[in-house]
Amino acid sequence: MRDKVLAGPLELDPFAPDRERLENTLTRRVNADPESVERGLAQLVLTIVELLRQLMERQALRRIDGGTLSEEQIERLGRTFMELDRRMEELREEFGLTEEDLNLDLGPLGRLL
């Protein structure tokens, strides 16, 4: 009954969050060592940044679709978001967080990703 995976990639990690970090978050255990505090904060901050980044990207795409932007403006927008994306990935790697780790549950709005 618990054998639920019907089809999936060999590497399932992208579909499961990082359990070690979750453990600390859940038990609300206050690990006072600087590294843990920093990591917990990082997760919080990056989750919100990721939410904003996605919202802005979607807005930008809608504007581009609207057809009122010049080629140069489109190129600039694209480059800006590309840099944001790259920077987010670097930050995630720096703190050992996967995309699923930032997959915020927005309650009635569903999940971020």
Binding site: R2, K4, V5, F15, A16, R19, L106, G107
Partner: protein, 67 residues
Amino acid sequence: MTTTIAEQEVALVDLVDRLLGGGVVIAGDITLSVADVDLVYVGLRALVSSVATAEEKNALPAMGSAL
């Protein structure tokens, strides 16, 4: 067929999404999912607990009631 830890975790994510985010909603007198924020905690706690059951029975601290 025995499931791997990864398979269990992945299945648990989908289970929690359904149990806490789906199903018929009938206002109970007491519901374990009191607020959406609590849902996240309950969901994540369940995920960690499953790992404890599978491999680290003695290593995780005791968890209090979800309520």
